[in-house]
């Protein structure tokens, strides 16, 4: 190819690479487009809900530090009698705490707690947009039983053609770095030229993003293969011994420490721990789990944790960044890079914009191919060249 817009000469190396570029994604383009689009929406799903549902909002500027967890739990139990909190998500300072709570009339309702007042702001009885989009994007909503499911493998396998598209795209687009200096987006030369320019322009500005997405996506595939073959990418917590769970003669429940007491002990064990995911015991042999971060940049919000015995308050396990090994370290960094969560709303916004561009790359690629193919098919039957449409 002489210039990016001229079709490759027959039999040239350029034509080979262009064909290879097409083979990387055209046969699966609808699936790829779907995954890029749902992933882009998933990045900002919680923020989308924030826009339309006041129940999920929290205003940190309003006041003071966050409330005591006991206050939050008490207000849920008062609001919804006989309910039991299964876990609590603390996502962003501007979002209400999400307490996934089991209630007699809804086994997995999400209760929205104002983190600064402890008030119940409402409940949602459905998966929620964030869960739904994450599930749609990441594993096609297939159920997880043990191990990773087919949907997860199918989606993560897309990282391979995506790496292929990036490399072949850069080979086909000769001297692509000139595109940075002389960006061109011609709107007056017909739609094929326009879509071609757009595809290349978006492409070069997305090199870093496509690299991150495909490499982290490939890791998610590797992670599934490792874990499904008994090579865990996470460290395992101790399980409560049968003898450690007290036996009470009269059959009543033994006293347990409260969630706030447990959190105080967790914080003492791992100073500076900001909890993001809290799991209270779900049966008599279960511990309290506090997943969070002490603030190491680029590590996930759930990369550090403290596990506590609810009967004695004893710390059973405390895992800080310095305690985690190689594979687990990768597993804790990759999600923040893939989801763009490392700088809150700011990085999410950037990820959303480039995710939209990537979605547009798939769409524009298909448009170019269709127009080019139509043209070459038509010209094969006509001796005279057709005009650019």
């Amino acid at each position: 190819m002489e210039t990016p817009t001229k079709p490759a000469k027959k039999g040239s190396r350029g034509q080979f690479w262009l064909a290879l570029h097409g083979w990387c994604s055209l046969p699966i383009w609808i699936f790829l487009l779907f995954v890029c689009l749902t992933g882009t929406i998933a990045t900002v799903a919680s923020e989308i809900v924030w826009l339309y549902d006041p129940e999920v909002r929290a205003s940190p500027q309003d006041v003071k530090p966050t409330v005591n967890f006991d206050t939050a739990i008490a207000s849920i139990e008062k609001h919804y009698p006989h309910s039991k909190v299964q876990y609590i998500y603390i996502r962003e300072p501007y979002l209400a705490w999400e307490a996934i709570t089991s209630m007699p009339d809804a086994p997995r309702a999400t209760v929205h707690i104002n983190p600064y007042t402890g008030e119940v702001q409402g409940r949602t009885i459905w998966a929620g947009l964030q869960n739904f989009m994450t599930g749609l994007h990441g594993w096609l909503l297939m159920p997880f039983s043990t191990g990773y499911n087919l949907g997860w493998y199918m989606v993560t396998a897309l990282s391979i053609p995506m790496i292929g598209s990036l490399i072949t795209g850069l080979v086909v687009y000769k001297r692509f770095w000139r595109g940075f200096l002389k960006p061109q987006l011609r709107r007056d030369k017909g739609s094929r030229i326009f879509w071609g320019d757009l595809h290349r322009l978006a492409g070069i500005w997305s090199i870093w993003f496509i690299t991150i997405m495909s490499v982290t996506g490939l890791w998610f595939l590797v992670q599934a293969v490792l874990n499904d073959n008994q090579i865990p990418t996470y460290s395992i917590d101790p399980i409560m011994a049968r003898e450690a769970s007290p036996i009470v003669k009269d059959g009543s429940r033994p006293p347990v420490i409260t969630i706030e007491e447990a959190f105080q002990k967790a914080e003492a064990a791992l100073p500076g721990l900001k909890p993001h995911y809290i799991v209270p015991p779900s049966n008599g042999f279960d511990y309290y789990y506090f997943y969070g971060t002490t603030g190491t940049p680029f590590f996930s919000d759930y990369s550090e944790r403290v596990v506590l015995n609810p009967y004695t308050g004893e710390v059973m396990n405390a895992v800080a960044i310095k305690d985690i090994g190689g594979l687990e370290m990768i597993a804790q960094v990759v999600p923040t890079l893939h989801f763009g969560t490392f700088a809150g709303i700011y990085s999410k916004a950037v990820w959303f914009i480039f995710g939209s561009l990537l979605t547009l790359m798939v769409a524009s690629g298909v448009v170019i191919w269709t127009k080019r193919a139509v043209k070459s098919t038509v010209s094969a039957f006509r001796p005279v060249p057709v005009a650019a449409e």
Binding site: G22, A106, L140, P143, P254
Partner: protein, 152 residues
């Protein structure tokens, strides 16, 4: 490598992949609905001073877990406010002989406690699902359901 020829329909076939989320969306959304205990709910039974309802979690046959064991997911819903009145509960196909062999321990959402239950390679018509409750006092309570109407 030949360039892709213009066979539009062939390159749009990947739309078939979208059948997967369409098929599974129902079960996914059901899990978080008011009736999210499972897709097939069995009879509610008395067990000690409590009641329990067994449910089949997904419309899917037993699967092999990563260790090679045939497994199927079930859930149990206990009576209102009963969950903290006993220590733990277990599910097993076939009658357990002791609490140490009581099967898979239930955990998770209080009103839809779940377990990955080990499943026989071939289910006999006489096979039953046993729920064992272990009280805080260590006493055991048991009840069973026939497994004839399960997705095999």
């Amino acid at each position: 490598m030949k360039p892709l020829r213009y066979h539009p329909w062939r390159y749009h076939l990947s739309i078939a992949v979208l059948i997967i989320p369409i098929l599974w969306a129902g079960d996914f959304l059901h899990t978080f609905s008011r009736e999210g205990i499972g897709v097939q709910v069995f009879e509610t039974k008395q067990i000690g001073p409590w009641t329990a309802t067994l449910a089949e979690k997904y419309h899917a046959p037993p699967y092999r877990d990563p260790t090679g064991t045939m497994t199927k997911d079930f859930a149990v819903r206990f009576c209102e406010g009963c969950i903290d009145q006993f220590k733990a509960a277990y599910l097993k196909v076939g009658k357990p002989r002791s609490v140490r062999a009581a099967g898979a321990m239930l955990g998770g959402a209080a009103y839809a406690m779940e377990a990955h239950v080990q499943f026989p390679p071939k289910l006999e018509p006489t096979d039953t699902m046993w729920l064992t409750i272990e009280g805080w006092d260590g006493k055991l309570h048991q009840v069973s359901w026939p497994l004839t109407e399960i997705t095999k």
